[in-house]
Each structure stands twice: as C-alpha cells, then as structure tokens.
C-alpha cells in the first residue's frame, strides 16, 4: 500500500473493496476508465462524494458494450433510476457483477432483470419476444419468434403461470453449464 492516491478517502476505498469483488488497484483503474468517458464531468476528487452521473450515451459507447445487443438493458438495470445514466457506484457495481469472481446466482439475478424488459418481475411473452429479436437482429419471422417464445415458456415455466419468474429462470440456469461462465468484459480493463 505504498502509492498515495487522492481520489478517494481510505474509508471509501475500503467500502468499495468490501462491497465489490475488486481490489484497490482494479477500483482505481475502473475509476480512470469512468473518468475517461467524460473528463470534464468527472472530478478527480471523490472525497466529498460529488453527485456525478454520466448519460447513457457515453456508457453505451464503451467498447465492451458498444456491440452488445443488450447494452441498453444492462445500463438500465444497473443505473440508479433505471434510465441508463450511471454514477460511479453504478459503474463499479456493473463491472463487479459481470466480472469473473461474481457467483453464478448473483449473475443469474441480474440477467433476469436484464431480460425483464417491462420491469414487472416476470419474463412474460413480450419480454421474450424482445429478447429473441435482439438476439437474432430481427432475422426471424414473427411467427417463428412467437413459436420460439411459446416453446421457451413451455419448457421453463415450472409453476404453470404462463410466464417465467425468477425461480423458474434460476432453475433453468442451473441446468445450463455454459451460462455466463465467461465474463462480459474479458481480460483486464
């Protein structure tokens, strides 16, 4: 712990280390990445807890998210008010959950929120249709999309209420070994 930094107080850094899966160095690196998105908006001194929010357009232009079809949902899920504009806390939270060290249950929880487009705590048919369209870039016909969604609900709905709750989703994820094993943001950032 030799290098002095003046961005955060020691208490803030400790809090970040306790609440995310990152080490001190990684947190500082992430802070610089956050700052690089808008150097004029983000101050170099966070000790007095400035209320700085970066708009979604800047977040969505990051190379890791730029081509991801779900980038808007990801930003909305992790942002404070659900509109895609992220504070530093939201930014760190997003990277922490999607890093390699986060447990699978946590990732599944947030993945469920990402796929739940209308925020009603269930993945209903319309949510699924939006998901499939985003995945396939609207290449499937509407009938095919509808068929896929019906089959998905038929396969994954355990309590027979016609939509997927968080428990149904988690139950299905347990069966899928490839789910989110690889992190969203590979390698060092």
């Amino acid at each position: 712990m030799g290098n002095k930094q003046t961005i955060f107080t020691q208490e803030q850094l400790d809090a970040y280390q306790d609440c995310t899966f990152f080490t001190r160095k990684e947190i500082l690196r992430l802070f610089y990445r956050y700052r690089d998105l808008a150097p004029q908006l983000v101050p170099l001194d966070y000790t007095d807890k400035p209320a700085v929010t970066l708009p979604y357009e800047l977040i969505g232009s990051m190379p890791e998210l730029k081509d991801n079809p779900f980038r808007q949902r990801i930003a909305e899920v992790f942002s404070e008010h659900g509109d895609g504009n992220m504070t530093l806390d939201d930014f760190l939270d997003m990277f922490s959950v999607l890093s390699e060290m986060a447990p699978r249950d946590l990732k599944a929880y947030y993945a469920f929120k990402i796929y739940d487009f209308n925020n009603d705590d269930y993945i209903c048919k319309s949510d699924l249709e939006k998901t499939v369209n985003k995945l396939t870039r609207n290449e499937l016909t509407p009938e095919e999309v509808s068929l896929v969604c019906e089959k998905v609900i038929y396969e994954a709905d355990v309590d027979n209420d016609g939509k997927l709750s968080l428990e149904d989703f988690q139950h299905m994820i347990v069966r899928a070994p490839d789910f989110l094993r690889s992190p969203l943001f590979p390698g060092s950032f």
Partner: protein
C-alpha cells in the same frame, strides 16, 4: 410500503380434536373458511386502503426505493391490458406479494436476506416448531418477514438485517454483503450501519486506519486474506499459458472453436506429466551412465523424419537402455566372477525403474483423465428438455466483443434457433410409412458404404505393408543407398496418413447425401465413422508390430524398430496436418476469394481436428514403452500445432455455422480420449508387458521371458535378501497374481456403480414429484388470486 392484510386463520372448532393442528388434508374446509375470512377482512381493509392511498401519494415524490418500485407497484398500463377486470386495490396487493417484489422492492430484498442470514445462523431452513404461530397450512407459517405486519418499514428491516449480519461469523457476513443483489449505494449504507453498530467508539474518533465493520479486529486479517485470494485468483488466470491467445480466439470465433484449443492444452498437460516422470526416473539416469557401446552414426537431417540413423542408438529408443543396476561398478566384470569392489550404497535398478515409471505415468494419466471426464460429464449432463430455453438465454457468448464477430454470433444464434424449430416441427410431424422406409434404406446404405470403405482401407493398409516389406527386403539384399532404404520406410506412414486425411472428407460428403434429421446427429455420425476408421487401422498396425510378421521381422532389436515406426507415424501425421491446413484452409480460401468471388471462408472443422489430436495422442501412448522420449516429441508437436493452427485460423477461417454445444462436445471428446484411445493403449501395453518376449540383445529386459518377469524376479530377490519381508512376497504372489482378487474387485466396482445409478434414479423421481408439487402450488396461487379479485369486485359492486 403497502401493508398487506394480515390473515389469521380461525378454524371452526369441532373439525379436529383439540390441540392438534388441522392437517392439510382438510382442504375443502380450509378453502371455504378462507372465503369467509376474505369477506370478513375485506370490510376491515376498506378503511385501511384509503389511508394507504393517501400515504402512497405522499410517498411517491420521496421514494425510498427506486421510482420504478413506486410506479410498478401501482398497476401498469400493460398489466391492465392482461387483467382488465381486476381492481386497482387487488393489483396493489398482488404487487406486494413476496414472490413478486423480490425483483425490485428494496425492502423485500432486505427482508429476504435477513431471513437467509437468520437461517444461516440457525443452520436450518425452518425455525423450530415452538416459535411458529399455529397456522393450518405449512405454507402459511409466518416465518417470512414480508408478511409479518409488525416489521414493515424499510429502516426497521435494515436494522434487523444489520443485527442478523453481526451475529454470524465475519467471513459469512462479508460473503453475504458481497452476494446480496443490492445496489452498491445500498450496500455502503448497510456497511456503514454495521460498522457503527459494531464499534461506536472508533466512529467517533474518526480513526483513519482501515477498519472492518463486519466484526472483531482479527477479521481484518480475514478480509485482507480474502483480498489477497482474489488477487491470486486473477493472477493465476492471467498467468496461465496462452491466456491472451485463447481469449483472442474465443472473442473472434466463440467457445466452440475455443474448445479445440483447450483440448490441445489439456493433452499438452498429460504429456508433460508423463514426460516428467520418465525423464526424472529413467532418461536422466541412463544419460548419466551411458552404455559403452556402439559409436553413433553421423547426424544428417533425415533422422528427424525417419527416426533412424543417429537416433537409433540414443536415449530416444528402448534399445539404448541397459538391464543392469546403474551405479554398480561390477557391471562390467563378467558374470560369475567375484567382484573385489564394494556393492553400491543406493543401487539403482534400471529395468525396474523403467517398468515402474511407465506404469506410474500411465496411472497418473488415467487418474487425470478420469477426473477430467467426470468433471466435464457433470457439467454437461442435464435433462435434455429445455434446450430451446437454454439456447435463448445462454447462447449469447459474452466473450465475443468484436463487431464482425457479434454479427456472426447473431447469425449463429438465428441459425441455431431456426434449426431447433425445424427439429421440433419435424419431431411433431409424423412421417408417412413410405418416407420412413426410404429414409431407413438411405441410412442403411450410407452405413454399409462407410463400413465398406473402412474395411477397404484396412485391407489396403495390410497388403501395402506386406508389399513394402518385400520391397524393403529386396532393397536390403541389393544393398542400395541409405536414403533409398529410409525412404521406403516412410511410405507406409505416408499412405496411412493420407487415408486418415482423405476418408473423413469422404464421410462428410456421405453425410450430406444422407441428410440426417438433425445437424447434431450428422456431426455425431461423422465422428463415429472417422473414429471407426482410425481404430481399425491402429488395431491392424498394433497386431503387425506385436506379431512381428511384417515389420521389424528381420531386426534383432525389434522394440527399437517398433519405436522408430511409431516415431515415423507421428512425424507423418504432423506433416499431413500441416499440408491439410495449407490446402484445406489457405488455398481453399484463396480459391473462394479469387476464383469464386464469394465472401465465404472455409470453416474450421472442429470434430475432424479433435479426432486427429486424439489419434496423435494414441500413437504417443502406444509408443511410450518402446520410445520413452516420445511424450517430449508429442509436446513439441503440440506446441508447434497450437501456434500454426491459431495463425491459420485467424487468417483463413470463419466460425462454424453448425449448432454446437461446447460443453457437451468437450465431454464427448474427453470420453473418446479416455475410452477407445487410452484404454486401447493401456491394453496394448499390458499385453506387451505380460506376454511378449523382449529381444535378447538390447533393452533393459533382455534375456527375460517377459517384461513382467522382471518385477517377479525382483520380489524373489527381495525375499531372499531379507527374510523379514516374506509377507510382501506372499502378498505379491497370492493376491496380486491371483485372479480371485481381481474378480472380487471388479464385482465390488460394479456394485458401487449400480448403487450410484439407483441413487441417481431415485433423485430423478423426487425431482419429478417436486415439479408436480410446484405446479400444484402455482395453480393454488392462481385460484387464490381469482378469489381475491372476486372479493374486490363484489365489494366494488356493493359499494
């Protein structure tokens, strides 16, 4: 926070005996009594609801949770469409159901985690029965904070959670804090409250030293260790060999192509361990005490190809190794005469070391293989139902970040979904009898053709090897030059490698003509045919080597000859892989681009490439007895292959368009490596050690009846030298060599396997029962919701 109505059940007396809880069997009584209750309660909550509505209006500008929670708890327009007749009050109640609010409502998450922490502390999932209030149905037992009306505010819930967190162990506390699905800001609030509760003195003095809120001062050490552990983990990940290269490949081509390179890396690891064991115990020691014998032939470059010449009398082959105790100075003196020098302090018996090292390296490989198979099997064996759902939610390979690759992946997913739909449709579509018959005939024909090709190839190899043997003998009789003689030796490996390269492409064409129902079956069938071909050819070659009827029949030191043959096969395999890459990928891509002017690039055929790797590894394992340094050769080959394949992939190929489930395929490849490949090599090795007579003039087992006899001889020598350990010899003679023991061991193993299978079956049955139960509970919930809506509708109508 809306207060859900508290429903306490008063079961009418007389239905059950006093003091006993009514069992869930009396459903009818309970349902009707519910109806009564709901009617009663509805009048009570009428007044309460109005109050809540006022509260909600006051709350919405200063929302505790996200504004979404406030907005969402209120009926959304989308929801209104689904349930047009449901009143807003009932929807409000629905919105605060525990299973619903877990998604967003902060208070619900906090109370859920409070319960979880409490359960952790109690180490059981249910509180003791005495603490529960007497409710009829077990599902109504109110040990969930959410339905407990006395603790409703967010602050209260936070305080309770903090209290629970403080009472568990510090590592669990920090783990809970990390894994809670709350936002970072909320977690920091909790953490601050924890620290304030834990150590109020410190807070006041604003002590600048790092402190931990989760417990006692020694917890700081634990948290420091945790940080250290994460750092080690991330370092380990980056320190793995080829870490960046593998990420690059995964990013551009996805995890299916990546599985090939991971398989290569795994094979490299197996070879490394075998090589290490043999190096340490056999090769280095023989190198230190070289035999005073034949002067080696001069080194020309041809040795690298043919393995003969300079390499013949080198550490590479079996013939170089001596059959004596290595550091015994008496070895040079003739047998029978007395040796004036003292016996060595630590005699190193090379033949024994040779035998045991090979045995141990095979054992280590076996253990590693079985572990890999079981781990990958566990990961990939799930119920086959749900593959469409899994594809939709899990197909997005998050490693892919390049724009072109993202587009490709979208196309991949699209293709996969379309194919799955076709599969579903064709499964549901019933075939006419005529079509079925035609399809069966086509498949039968294809298999007959494939097997015919395989037998043709095997016969061709057999006759060709005999022919080459005759030619070689003629050449030797004529006394032609060394180059010619060596070239003759290379022809058979060349032909075998050529067949191995061409036949799979023929099988691919056959599969296209066959038009299987699903593309996955196509891949499996192609793999099986390829595997049959390679297995048959290898069996033929092994029988030729062991019987020494064709190759190495003229040699005195036949083991070295067999080792050289295997070396040649390996080198030829490598050369043909390179040629295949050159023609199949580079030149084909140039043709596609320049001549045919399409944007398509050749695909990387994962199955064929992996089978080639398995074939190469089988050759190594077959040859380890005859050429102890063969794992080193294989390691060099694999290293070169990795870089060359990667370069060729990046330049020439596109990602495969066939549907691929990486984990299931990896399991299959590892299983293929274990069962036909390793087991076959182990069987070959065992047969050689047990039944084949080693040559008289060379190698560490010269003069013995079989290689196995050396071990037996050693035990007898031990017995003679030290009469105290006769029990060891007895154990060896009567237990290890006795067939009864093997019989009983196999029976015990089979019994254990059967037991495990039955356990798995029992668990599957339980899973089915639980699924039915969940479905019934869901129906119950729907029923109750309907009733609730009826109640409110009636109330609205009446009011």
């Amino acid at each position: 926070m809306s207060q859900p109505p508290s429903i306490t059940l008063h079961v009418p007396e007389g239905t059950e005996s006093d003091g006993q809880e009514p069992s869930p069997d009396n459903e009818r009584a309970l349902h009707t009594s519910f109806h009564q209750l709901i009617l009663e309660q509805s009048s009570l909550i009428e007044a309460g609801l109005e109050l809540e509505l006022q509260e909600r209006d006051r709350e919405s500008p200063a929302c505790l949770a996200t504004p979404d929670a406030c907005a969402g708890a209120w009926p959304e327009p989308g929801q209104g469409e689904e349930h047009p007749s449901y009143s807003s009050a009932s929807l409000q109640i629905l919105a605060s159901m525990p299973s619903r609010t877990i998604g967003r409502n902060l208070g619900a998450i906090i109370s859920q985690y409070c319960n979880r922490t409490a359960r952790l502390r109690r180490r059981s999932s249910r509180p003791p029965l005495q603490q529960l209030c007497r409710a009829a149905r077990p599902s109504l037992r109110q040990y969930d904070l959410e339905t407990d009306p006395t603790r409703a505010t967010l602050e209260d819930k936070r305080r309770l959670l903090v209290k629970e967190l403080l009472s568990v162990s510090p590592s669990q506390c920090s783990h809970m804090l990390l894994t809670m699905p709350l936002s970072l800001a909320e977690k920091r609030i909790l953490r601050r409250q924890l620290s304030r509760q834990r150590d109020p003195l410190r807070q006041r003095t604003h002590h600048r030293a790092p402190f931990s809120p989760c417990g006692w001062s020694k917890v700081y050490v634990i948290l420091g260790c945790r940080g250290l552990w994460y750092r080690i983990l991330s370092l380990l990940r980056t320190a793995q060999p080829w870490h960046y290269a593998l990420k690059q490949i995964g990013g551009r081509f996805g995890s299916s192509v990546l599985s090939y390179f991971l398989f290569l890396k795994m094979l490299l690891m197996f070879n490394f361990f075998s090589f290490l064991i043999l190096l340490a115990f056999v090769v280095v020691l023989q190198a230190v005490y070289p035999p005073a014998s034949v002067s080696p032939q001069p080194f020309t470059g041809l040795e690298l190809l043919t393995g003969g010449g300079y390499f013949t009398h080198s550490l590479l082959y079996y013939g170089y190794y001596r059959n004596v105790t290595l550091n015994d100075p008496c070895t040079s003196s003739p047998k029978g005469s007395m040796c004036p020098l003292a016996a060595p302090l630590f005699p190193y018996n090379l033949p024994l070391a040779y035998l045991f090292s090979i045995g141990v390296s095979f054992l280590v490989t076996c253990i590693l293989l079985v572990y890999s198979v079981s781990r990958s099997f566990r990961e990939s064996v799930r119920s086959s139902m749900g593959d469409l759902a899994i594809k939709v939610f899990c197909a997005w390979d998050f490693k892919v970040i390049q724009r072109r690759s993202v587009k490709l992946q979208c196309e991949n997913i699209c293709t996969q979904l379309k194919e799955l739909l076709v599969e579903h449709r064709s499964r549901s579509r019933s075939r006419s009898c005529c079509q079925c018959l035609r399809h069966c005939i086509v498949i039968l024909l294809a298999w007959v053709l494939a097997l015919g090709c395989v037998s043709g190839c095997v016969l061709a190899v057999h006759y060709f090897s005999e022919h080459m043997h005759m030619v070689q003998q003629e050449q030797q009789a004529q006394g032609s030059g060394r180059w010619q003689q060596e070239a003759i030796l290379l022809v058979l490996p060349l032909v075998v490698s050529l067949l191995n390269a061409l036949m799979p492409r023929l099988f691919n064409l056959l599969a296209m003509w066959e038009k299987q129902d699903s593309p996955v079956t196509q891949v499996y069938v192609a793999i099986i045919r390829n595997l049959i071909l390679k297995t048959m050819v290898l069996i033929l070659l092994c029988s030729q080597w062991l019987s020494r009827s064709v190759t190495c029949s003229a040699e005195e030191c036949w083991e070295t000859c067999v080792g050289q043959d295997l070396y040649r096969f390996m080198v030829m395999d490598f050369i043909f892989t390179l040629l295949d890459m050159l023609f199949g990928e580079l030149i084909w891509r140039l043709i596609l681009e320049k001549k045919l002017k399409t944007k398509q690039r050749p695909e990387f055929d994962i199955a064929r490439n992996v089978l080639e790797l398995i074939y190469g590894q089988t050759l190594t394992w077959l040859g380890i007895l005859f050429a102890p340094l063969l794992p080193a050769v294989q390691m060099v080959k694999l290293l070169l292959l990795f870089y060359i394949k990667k370069t060729s992939l990046m330049w020439n190929c596109q990602s495969p368009s066939k549907p691929w489930q990486a984990s299931r395929m990896s399991t299959m490849f590892i299983t293929l490596l274990c069962f036909p490949s390793f087991l076959g090599a182990a069987a070959f090795l065992s047969y050689t050690i047990w039944s084949v007579q080693p040559s008289e003039t060379c190698g560490p087992f010269r003069g013995l009846e079989t290689i196995y006899k050396s071990g037996k001889r050693w035990v007898l020598v031990l017995e003679k030298s030290n009469p105290n350990i006769t029990w060891f010899a007895w154990v060896y003679q009567h237990l290890l060599e006795n067939t009864w023991l093997l019989f009983f061991t196999s029976v015990a193993l089979i019994a254990v396997i059967y037991f495990n299978i039955q356990v798995v079956r029992g668990r599957q049955r339980i899973i089915l029962l639980l699924q039915e139960q969940i479905a019934k509970e869901g129906e119950d919930k729907i029923f109750l919701i309907e009733k609730l809506h009826c109640v409110y509708k009636q109330r609205d109508r009446c009011s």
